[in-house]
């Protein structure tokens, strides 16, 4: 890590306690930056807060050196015993780098401090030893911290804790992992009220809120900014002719020759893709294009074996590996000094993400980050243009702490009960100090206590069910097996069952999802981790494969969340579309796109700023309705359901709603009279929530959300990781649980949570209301097209759809029977 020496030391004399730190900086030939000094002073003054600087500008030392200074000056003889600094990182892969950075000054200066890390990869003997004898500084993940809280002795173990550092807080904040972190910290603060919290975050649209979530509600946070500015330049790879460029798709391989021509194999380059399958395909294509440079290319994503990923990261640092095709797996952390260029394939969908990725190049505090954008389909050219305008205006998205997810709270309380146990009144007070559970009501808390003690409401207790029991006012768990099962399940990252993939000689390759494996037959050939592999067999949750040269183009699919364009970006996107009809001079992207836009205008229309375009079209599949509000995938999903419901109340039907970032499609049975049924009432926002709920009651969305909730709250037990012993008597699908709870316990809060997650997070009901308001003032343009227009085509082919129906099951089956005969 290097710092520019342009900053001057403030006039005031530094705190004498900082002397050892300043001495070390001097041996390195560095001068502390202003923001580092400011952070150290704030730590010495006992404050908590957030450090907000770009990656690679010396944030780690800004965050830890203050606490280290405190530890060194604790007594004349040096540090006292016990864990004093806890460093939380979202990625366990980063813990090694951080440990290395922190150890450097300690070793150089011979400070009497012990540093260790503890993650899922740490051997269990070492973990056991750590529980008995903590190092001074521990680097760990939110999950590993929660697991530590599930062992008795927490109060004593964390009694000497001075400071917790939350690295990459922006990554954690608005996820359930962030909520889990807030909860764990609130418990630590109860154990050690003097504890200071320091978050490190990239720039966010809502820094104050992010800082408050990190430090807890009863502390006033200091926010430290660097004042460093970094310019970001976006360039794009354009197709020679838009005619040959696909209207839909997400791979973008069409442009791979152009990309190869634009890059230089001797310059260190990160190539970001949005999905793991996409990264596999691009890696194949690039390897094919540059066969003589195979050793300079690498593939990096979250399913590849950790050791292999580490080898790739080391290769990039040493300069042996030049191009890395990667996913969000390289969004974070690891310092890649040599990276000179960053490529983004497909839209990054979010200004902050683009900025973060761009920041991976020119990894010095000040400098120009350049990002090369490769569109995957024609309309994405519009997004590039919107990105540029958004960045120029300096707009960034905010990230919010989740609103009291009950599942994470259930898990947290059971964790505490496994450990030292908890007293409800004290626990409630510390819960309410978190931003996430500030509004937790007494009733909600009571329900959750009942849920983990008696299994249900007071009237409906299950005598056999004794998960958590109350002894002398303290809630604890006494059953060793339940404790063991709970510890295995700690964490909030819900994923499909994944299987380990190894060569027949047992060398590890990585993880694939069960769903993909189940479709493979012996001898099938597929691509994974950049290798061409032949499927051999599955045994004991391990997939055996061998290398092959046989032909195949199958790539495993991982199911992850879909990205949506952010609220901020969608505003710029609409400006872009609106400007098409009024502006005379266009940038390169729009000029390239012009013929396609002309086709849209010919087949249908290019909507002006004050118009809402609606298209209808009949195909073999049924009657299609296309609407283009350009508000992003999530809002369109909500709007699709809302309008679908409003149509179906007038004429019963089963619809399929498909969405993308530009618009949505409602597919109905043939001849459905969309235009006749439409009215001004469709823009009414007053019955928004109740209409959405009515439509959701009869859909599968809530059941899907319940899957993760059931896992996190411990309703679904996935088995012990290394044990061959199955727990088949506890196998159950979350959809069956959902049905059972809906039937017998409709007031279960976890069901309410699933519904709220759909309304708030998935359909963004608040954004929806604003959208309806905006659309109401537009003039409607109805077009009937004989074939789908360029805007509609992506919705037709990239169908990620949900169903909505108010027909009875029998009506649906009746139609199904009719179709059955014709197939």
């Amino acid at each position: 890590m290097t710092f520019s020496n342009s900053k001057t030391i403030p006039e005031t004399t530094p705190d004498p306690r900082l002397q050892p730190i300043l001495d070390w900086f001097q041996t390195q030939g560095w001068l502390p930056l202003d923001f580092q000094q400011a952070a150290w002073q704030a730590v010495l003054a006992g404050r908590s807060g957030m450090i907000q600087v770009p990656t690679g500008s010396g944030k780690t030392y800004a965050a830890v050196m203050g606490a280290i200074a405190l530890m060194l000056s604790a007594t004349p003889k040096g540090p006292t015993k016990g864990l004093q600094l806890l460093y939380l990182t979202p990625l366990r892969a980063l813990s090694r780098d951080i440990e290395h950075s922190i150890c450097r000054p300690i070793e150089d200066m011979g400070w009497n401090l012990r540093v260790e890390s503890r993650t899922g990869d740490t051997p269990s003997t070492r973990k056991t030893r750590q529980l008995k004898n903590m190092p001074h500084i521990l680097i760990t993940t939110p999950e590993s911290l929660s697991v530590m809280l599930s062992y008795p002795g927490t109060a004593q173990r964390f009694a000497a804790l001075r400071c917790v550092v939350l690295d990459e807080w922006h990554e954690l904040l608005s996820s359930k992992r962030g909520t889990q972190t807030e909860l764990a910290l609130s418990h630590l603060r109860q154990v050690q009220p003097q504890m200071q919290t320091w978050a490190i975050s990239a720039t966010l649209g809502n820094s104050d809120e992010a800082a408050q979530a990190a430090v807890g509600r009863s502390t006033s946070p200091v926010i430290i900014r660097s004042g460093l500015t970094r310019e970001t330049v976006i360039k794009s790879v354009l197709p020679e002719s838009i005619d040959a460029f696909p209207w839909a798709g997400h791979l973008g391989l069409r442009l791979f020759e152009e990309l190869v021509a634009a890059l230089d194999i001797n310059r260190s380059t990160l190539i970001f893709t949005n999905t793991r399958s996409q990264s596999e395909r691009w890696f194949q294509a690039l390897s094919f294009a540059l066969p003589e440079h195979g050793d300079k290319l690498a593939l990096h994503h979250g399913s590849i074996d950790v050791k292999q990923r580490e080898a790739i990261e080391a290769g990039v640092k040493s300069g042996d590996i030049k191009w890395v095709v990667c996913t969000a797996s390289l969004d974070l952390g690891v310092d890649f000094q040599p990276v000179e260029r960053v490529v983004q394939i497909g839209s990054a969908k979010n200004l902050a993400r683009l900025l973060q990725r761009a920041g991976r190049s020119a990894h010095v505090p000040e400098g120009v980050s350049e990002i090369l954008f490769v569109p995957t389909h024609a309309l994405e050219l519009l997004e590039i243009s919107a990105f540029r305008n958004g960045l120029a205006a300096g707009d960034l998205e905010g990230r919010r702490s989740l609103l009291k997810p009950y599942d994470v709270l259930v898990q947290h309380l059971v964790t505490l009960a496994c450990g030292d146990g908890f007293v409800p009144e004290q626990a409630l007070a510390s819960l309410r100090d978190t931003l996430a559970y500030a509004t937790l009501t007494d009733d909600e808390f009571r329900w959750i206590l009942d849920f983990i003690t008696t299994g249900g409401t007071c009237l409906n207790a299950y005598p056999r069910y004794k998960k958590v029991v109350c002894e002398d006012g303290k809630f604890i768990i006494s059953d060793a097996q339940i404790m063991k099962m709970h510890r295995v399940g700690i964490g909030t990252i819900a994923s499909n069952q994944s299987l380990r993939m190894v060569y027949t000689n047992r060398r590890d390759i990585g993880q694939v999802e069960e769903g993909f494996v189940s479709r493979l037959k012996k001898g099938d050939v597929f691509f994974f981790a950049g290798r061409q592999l032949e499927f051999f067999m599955v045994k004991d949750m391990v997939v055996y494969v061998k290398n092959t040269t046989k032909k195949s183009t199958v790539t495993p699919i991982w199911y992850g969340g879909n990205l949506t364009i952010s609220d901020t970006l969608s505003t710029y996107l609409r400006q872009e579309i609106g400007a098409l009809r009024t502006t005379e001079t266009f940038n390169d992207e729009i000029t390239c796109l012009a013929p396609l836009l002309a086709t849209q205008d010919r087949l249908s229309q290019l909507p002006a700023t004050d118009e809402l375009l609606i298209e209808t079209c009949q195909t073999r599949d049924g009657q299609h309705l296309y609407v283009f509000p350009f508000e992003g995938r999530f809002v369109h999903e909500g709007l699709g359901f809302l309008w679908g419901y409003r149509f179906s109340t007038q004429q019963r039907a089963t619809f399929t709603v498909s969405v993308n970032d530009y618009g949505f499609e409602i597919l109905a049975p043939k001849g459905y009279p969309f235009q006749d049924l439409f009215s001004d009432a469709f823009f009414d926002a007053s019955t928004l929530e109740s209409d959405l709920k009515s439509s959701l009651n009869i859909s599968e969305l809530t059941s899907r959300k319940f899957r993760a909730i059931a896992q996190i709250s411990g309703l679904v037990f996935k088995g012990y990781p290394s044990s061959k012993k199955t727990v088949s008597q506890l196998q159950v699908s979350s959809s069956l649980l959902f049905d059972v709870f809906t039937k017998y316990e409709p007031d279960n809060l976890l069901l309410h949570q699933a519904e709220q997650e759909v309304l708030r997070d998935q359909l963004e009901a608040h954004r929806l209301a604003n959208t309806l308001h905006r659309l109401r003032h537009l003039s409607l343009v109805w077009k009937t097209t004989r074939r789908p227009s360029p805007f509609a085509f992506p919705l037709l082919v990239e169908r990620l759809s949900s169903r909505l129906s108010n027909e009875s099951l029998l009506e649906r089956i009746e139609r199904l029977k009719q179709q059955w005969g014709k197939l």
Partner: protein
């Protein structure tokens, strides 16, 4: 109708043979909720009552003389709690029907505990007129094999809809008829239809037949 035996598929997820006044059902999984509760997972225990309630009603609706349960009556030893055991005792005492259990994979470890009930237990497939009754499917049975174990579900997916229903699964080639699982709190396994097979799906209170066609084999 199979040879000389009439088979009546009931939407209550059971099979009735009017000639012998026999009721066949499978995979009841009593005590499953209690098994989960024991492991710290609070499943509502009304599921047992609901299952038994449905069974009692069935016996009232048809002139049933005997009942053969094709395995997996109980879920697991953890679920053999007093309430569950008592409920089954009570059912056996109040019903006029003679009950026979063909022991399934879930019941096998529970055989000692099953002795307390006034019902006949067998571990091998049972021959009944033209039929071979078993828990797990019997390959190449000389006659029609009626079995359980699979928990068959029929799934229909089109661009417009996705429906999944418990079903009776009939495979002409074997020949074999697999019963749906009877218990309330039981999952299902999607069975693919081939030209040789049919699914009799249960939707509310009706049964709807789907014949497999060669194009539907996926």
């Amino acid at each position: 109708m199979y040879r000389h035996t009439t088979l009546q598929l009931l939407p209550e997820r059971a099979l009735y043979l009017p000639q012998t006044q026999t009721l066949l059902l499978s995979d009841v999984h009593l005590g499953k909720a209690e098994t989960f509760q024991r492991a710290g997972i609070p499943i509502p225990h009304q599921v047992n009552q609901e299952t038994l309630h449905r069974l009692t009603q069935l016996c009232a609706m048809h002139p049933v003389q005997q009942m053969v349960i094709l395995g997996d009556l109980f879920h697991h030893s953890w679920g053999m709690v007093d309430a569950v055991v008592q409920a089954w005792h009570q059912f056996l005492q109040t019903t006029q029907v003679s009950v026979q259990l063909i022991v399934g994979n879930h019941d096998r470890p529970l055989i000692p505990a099953l002795q307390q009930f006034t019902m006949h237990c067998t571990t091998a497939p049972v021959q009944m007129q033209d039929l071979v009754l078993s828990h797990e499917p019997v390959a190449a049975a000389p006659r029609l094999n009626i079995c359980g174990h699979v928990h068959p579900c029929f799934r229909y997916k089109s661009k417009l809809d996705d429906i999944r229903l418990p079903c009776f699964f009939y495979d002409r080639a074997q020949p074999q008829l697999i019963l749906p699982s009877f218990g309330e709190f039981t999952g299902g396994y999607d069975v693919p239809l081939t030209a040789q097979s049919s699914a009799y799906a249960i939707a509310h209170h009706t049964i709807i037949a789907f014949d497999g066609t060669p194009t539907q084999s996926r």
